[in-house]
Point group: C2
Chain length 107, copies 2
């Protein structure tokens, strides 16, 4: 997505906050791929089609700020960074599974 | 949103189909508002901020084609049209409630 959804604006409802939090470009695929375990940035670049490194880094940073993922930097050379889902991120994955189930009805 | 999400493209997975189906502009607010019962187009125009009539009609048509909502036209003057959620749309609302619950954790 190129921009965030800002259309449920009567008041800040939890659904609006949720949708705004996950609607950044590639955020859902990032969360979805992390469900399989911790990931290094290069793995996202391999696994998500057409992902751009600069945008990926920006999305990861936003998701870290929002508490969906946690970053671990290893003090080694070459530098190694890994991302894992937080408890909040894991709860989102549970909702995405529900959405995935619903998606099967559309096929 | 200005465009659909096309970022989980390794293969057409149900989650991708689901996200693409609901990511049209105002689709989530439209579904959310219909949870309260059947709606006439003018009610969406009142209840959803900044919604544009032309775009609204386009979204309603897409959602009808996707089977999320059903349109009923009354043979009267002035013409009257009402939209209701289908079973598929109601199941989506259940998932949106889960997402709403998750959104509360972000507040």
């Amino acid at each position: 997505m190129k921009e965030k959804i800002r259309t449920i604006t009567e008041k800040e409802c939890p659904l609006e906050i949720a949708v705004n939090t996950i609607s950044g470009k590639w955020k859902i695929p990032i969360i979805w791929h992390m469900n399989a375990g911790k990931k290094r940035p290069c793995e996202f670049l391999r696994e998500i089609e057409n992902v751009d490194r600069r945008v990926l880094n920006q999305q990861l940073k936003e998701m870290e700020t929002d508490g969906l993922i946690a970053k671990k930097s290893y003090n080694q050379l070459p530098p190694k960074v890994e991302y894992t889902l937080t408890e909040l991120g894991q709860k989102l994955v549970e909702v995405l599974w529900q959405l995935n189930e619903w998606g099967k009805l559309l096929q």
